[in-house]
Every structure is written in C-alpha cells, then in structure tokens.
C-alpha cells in the first residue's frame, strides 16, 4: 500500500457520546456490508474492520423486500440508488445479525427506520431489550431503568443507535418524518425514552431549511446528528426516456453532492451544539478535512466505499499524515471554517 501506517504521534481518537472511536472515519449506513465484503474478498476484515465504528444497514420493524430493479444508476460525479431499505426485519436482525455485530472488535452504531414517529420508539426498545438480554449490561444492570445510562455503561459504550428519519411513505403522508420538525422531535423523543446510549438522528437534505429539523432532533434528545442522507433525483432510460430505476426516483450520493452536504453540515453546526457525523461525497482526505472544518467530528464514507471498501481506514491514515504535516490536532481542524 502507498499509505504509511497511522502515525502514533497523532491522536485521532474521538469521543462520540459514550462511545470512544480510535479515529473519526466510519461507514455510512447501507453502503458497506462488512460481513459480505469479508466473505467476498478478505476474511481479515472481520478481525480488522476498516472503520472506527461499524454502521449496519437500516433495519425496520417488519421485513422488507426493497424496490424492484434496476436499483442503481451512475450520474455525473455520483449515483442514484433506489434500494428501498430491503432488510430482514428487527426480529430476524436480532436473532441472526446482532450476535455477530457484537463480536466485532469495533463499536457498532445500529440504524433503524420507521414509518411513523412511534416506530422509532418500538425499534429502540426492542433493540435495548435484546442488548440487555445479550448479557452485555453491567453486573448491576438487572431492573435498571432504560434512561439511566450509568448502570449500562458496558454496552452503551459499545453500541449506539442511528435513526434514519428520511424514509419515504411515512405516517404523515407524502412528506417524510425528517422534513417535519414536529415529527422529527416525536421520533427522536420516542427513541430517547427507550434508548440510554448514543442516539444519532440522521437528517435528510431534501428540505428548504435544515436548521429547524436539527433543533427538533436536539430537543427530542439526540446525542448526535448525522447528515446527509441522499438527495431525491431522477434518471431516465436513455432509449425509452422512461424512469430508469425500478423505484422511479432514487437518492443521489457521491462527490456531486459534497458541496451541498458541506453547506448543510456548516449550517447545522451553527445551530445545535451536538457532535455531527458528516457524510456526502467523501472520497479523499481533503473531503474529510472539509467535513471536519464545517463541524463534523466524525466522518462517514458512503458510496465511495463501493470503489474501495478499505477507504475509511486509508483516509484515517492519510488524515494522520496531513495533521502531522500541518502540525495540527483534530481540535485545530474541527469547525475551522466557522
């Protein structure tokens, strides 16, 4: 590899709520299936995942088939996806996936999606119970209250929860939860009541002003905010001129959206005093610096990981080199653009 090992003299560690990350680079939900990639190309990934924390794909209460194909189309500087949240549902997830997630040598940030604000509370409660049952709680955890974080330090320091509040077709009609401050607050509050650990609200960029949504998430009790999810876009079949994707529209991600993601991150960082997980078009180490300078203390790699599943680890190494070369600490970069 051309990338030198992480420079031990540079401290890349970040505290994200109760979870400590060895460095700021993680994956974006739905863009990296660690177990599949390990099986397909490199079993060593399970021993040494290329992320500081692993974020699995969104899970919903019920199993979902996802959208009909085609689901992917490349566009200028990015891609549209209309995957449609296929997943096995939370029960099968708990039975089949949670155990192996907990066996990873990294913290995990679970990601859930609901179709009404109330579903987030149900999902959070179900996952909390599963984690408690997994015996990861502190010895004194029996009968502990869900909202008392102290007694559950042992699993809350390893497992967080991200709320994907930008699904289509939700309770409030055609506008998704994440574009409505009232619903956002309700969804986050519902989850917060059931989840004692790191709670991340993932915001949609398909909005005129993101600041009221960020405030609502903070009011609801989010301990961090991640942004951005994808931008709704459309591509046509070149010949028929009909919508190309099975799901008609899709979400735009990749370098094309980076300037938009940076702007939204910058605005949210000026609005709420919570740690941010920045994502949207991160491809190279300059993008990581940009996101951090706009206010993200953690940076997620999404679609660029499709080119290179090892990218987050590579970026972490490159970040260390950049910081060392500039004589900067992470704190010097964070919010530098403001």
């Amino acid at each position: 590899m051309v990338v030198p090992p992480v420079d031990a003299s540079v401290d890349l560690s970040v505290q994200l709520g109760p979870i400590r990350l060895a460095h700021p680079l993680i994956n974006a939900s739905g863009t990296f299936d660690l177990f599949e990639v390990a099986d397909a190309v490199d079993g060593g990934l399970l021993r040494e995942p290329p992320v500081a924390a692993y974020v699995p794909k969104t899970v919903t209460l019920e199993p979902r088939r996802g959208n009909e194909p085609p689901r992917i189309v490349e566009t200028a500087g990015g891609m549209l996806n209309s995957i449609g949240l296929p997943n096995k549902g939370v029960e099968a997830f708990i039975a089949e996936d949670l155990p192996r997630l907990l066996s990873l040598p990294r913290p995990v940030i679970l990601n859930v999606g609901g179709f009404s604000p109330a579903e987030y509370g149900l999902l959070a409660a179900r996952l909390r119970r599963a984690l408690e049952a997994a015996g990861l709680g502190s010895p004194s955890a029996s009968g502990s209250s869900a909202t008392s974080t102290g007694v559950q330090a042992s699993w809350t320091s390893r497992v967080g929860l991200e709320l994907n509040i930008s699904c289509p077709n939700v309770h409030s009609g055609c506008i998704s939860i994440g574009t409505d401050p009232v619903e956002t607050r309700a969804a986050v509050k519902g989850a917060r009541d059931e989840w004692p650990g790191l709670l991340v609200a993932k915001l949609t960029p398909n909005i005129g002003d993101i600041r009221p949504i960020a405030l609502a998430a903070a009011e609801g009790g989010a301990s961090a905010i991640s942004l951005v999810n994808t931008f709704k876009g459309l591509a046509l079949d070149r010949v028929s001129l009909r919508p190309y994707l099975g799901g008609v529209t899709g979400g735009l991600s990749g370098p094309a959206i980076k300037p938009l993601a940076l702007r939204l991150c910058y605005e949210v960082a000026e609005t709420v005093d919570l740690p941010l997980i920045g994502m949207g078009g991160v491809v190279e180490v300059q993008d990581v610096l940009d996101m951090m300078a706009c206010g993200a203390s953690v940076v997620a790699v999404g679609a660029a990981g499709f080119r290179d599943p090892w990218l987050p680890a590579t970026l972490a190494r490159q970040l260390a080199v950049r910081l060392r070369d500039r004589g900067w600490t992470l704190a010097d970069v964070l919010r530098r653009a403001h």
Partner: protein, 285 residues
C-alpha cells in the same frame, strides 16, 4: 487475502472487431474460477464507480478481459495504454460449477452472444486443466461445442479472442468445434445463436450461456423444453460488486430477488428462469 484493492498495470490492449482485450498484470491476484469477475477502474477515471468484467483469460497474475465499449466506463478502459494503472477488485462472484461441468465436457454446449463470449475461454482452459487430473476420458468426452452469436461481422471479430484458448485446448487433446452465426449474415450463417442451439442440442445435456438477457431466456426455453441442465452468467448494474449495496438484484424464477454479484453471476436455469421439463425429448420448442 489482500490489504485493499489491487493496483494493476495495463500490459496491452488489442482490438477484436468492435471489442477489445485488455491485459492487466495484477500483483497479488488470487486465482479466479471461470465465471468469476473483477471490478476495474482506471486510477485516473472520469466515472464514479468501477465496472464489472468477467475473467476472460488468466495466467498467474496476468489477466485478460474482453470488453465491449458501450458507455463512458468501457470507453475509458478502451483508451488505456500500456503502463496505465488500473484498480482491480476481485476475483468475486460465484462462477461456473466446474465439478459438474468437467465431468460432462463432451455433453456440454457453450453459448455466447456478443461480448457474452467473454467468460468462456477461461472456462475452456479450466475444463482442459481438470481433465489432466483424470486418468482417461471416454470417447467424445473431450469434444466441446461452442456456439457464438454476433450482431454482425464487425462484432464477430470478438470471436478471434477465442483462438488461443481454443488452440491450447486442442493441444491438450480436446476437440473444440466453434460455430458462428450473425444476425445480419455478414459472417457465417444468418440468424440467432439460439437457431444454432436448437439444431445442435441433441446429444448434449448441459448448456452454459452468457449474453443479452433475452438470449439467455431463449436459451433457457430450449433447454427447459428438453429437460437439459443449463447455467447462465447474468448481468446487472452494479455499484459495489461485493454484496454491500444490494443494488444488483434481479428477480429469480420464484419471484425472490438475488444479488448478481454474490448469489451470481452464474445461476442455474431453474433458479433464474424456472423449472426444466421432466422428460428430455431431444426436440426443441
């Protein structure tokens, strides 16, 4: 096991009709099974995602891909010059079931349409290699039938990329019969490769095919009507190629969705298209 994508180096590019063969030396490459594929992207690339290509030839860490330029990604690869760097991720995917095929080489028909001929030289090479481990073959077990269909004589230039694999097979005592057909009759017979298959199928009981989806479906119709085993290497637009994105799904015969990059790209006819008939009539529909 690799510590990241591999960085290959272009060793050559040769035109074959409307297609080209791209040769890449890839230090650290693990041997691929026939039907597996790799994701390629020039180190300096104007497209966002890598593109999937079947292994066409493989000799240690020297790989060959047969590529048809259809859009920005394939055209960019077609402008490669010797020494260019190319990111390579692979081999990935479930290839052909060599165990089953090798034992039945004499009753096998290979059907390729257009650039869908790409995976077969490597398959032939593997069948030949597999026979070397067997003490002796019964008569006819070293006869492989290859049916290739092209749009026109220009595209049919791609068939020449078969020559060396075919010669190596002959040198190893295999007899390879290659029949060629073009849709416009500008080279060989005029018609579809399925016309050839319908004529030639009898006496064979397993078909492997790769080409346009419509061709594959038509091949399956023929095979299923006569209860013949069939295997297809299928395509879908991909983002990751390694099972992360769930973007490459296709609907299987039972209505479920499967990822071409992980459950495929090679699927049995039954899985992809539907059950085969119970009685082999030797006749085609």
């Amino acid at each position: 096991m690799s510590d990241g994508r591999l960085l290959g180096r272009v060793a050559g590019l040769e035109a074959f009709g409307s297609m080209f063969v791209l040769r890449i030396d890839v230090p650290g490459w693990r041997p691929a099974a026939p039907g597996q594929f790799a994701l390629l992207q020039p180190q300096t690339s104007a497209v966002f995602l890598p593109r999937a290509f079947s292994l066409h030839g493989q000799s240690g860490e020297s790989l060959a891909f047969l590529i048809s330029p259809v859009g920005a990604g394939t055209e960019e690869l077609g402008r490669s010059v010797e020494g260019d760097s190319v990111w390579v991720l692979g081999p990935v995917g479930r290839g052909f079931d060599l165990g089953r095929l090798a034992a039945r080489a004499g009753r096998l028909v290979i059907v390729g349409g257009g650039v869908g001929i790409a995976p077969f030289p490597l398959l032939i090479q593997a069948l030949v290699d597999a026979s070397a481990h067997r003490s002796a073959d019964a008569p006819g077990e070293r006869d492989i039938l290859v049916l290739l269909g092209f749009r026109d004589s220009v595209q049919a230039g791609g068939a020449d990329s078969f020559t060396s694999a075919a010669e190596a097979a002959r040198a190893a005592g295999f007899s390879l019969r290659v029949e060629l057909i073009t849709e416009d009759g500008s080279l060989g017979r005029c018609g579809l490769v399925t016309d050839l298959l319908a004529e030639e199928l009898s006496g064979h009981d397993v078909v492997v095919a790769c080409g346009a989806h419509a061709m594959c479906a038509a091949v399956w119709e023929i095979c299923s009507a006569c209860g013949c085993d069939s295997w297809f290497s299928l395509e879908a637009g991909m983002a990751c190629g390694v099972g992360s994105c769930q973007g490459c799904v296709i609907a299987l015969a039972d209505g479920s969705l499967a990822r071409v990059c992980r459950e495929g790209p090679v699927f049995s006819g039954e899985t992809a298209f539907g059950p085969r008939a119970h009685v082999c009539t030797g006749q085609t529909v």
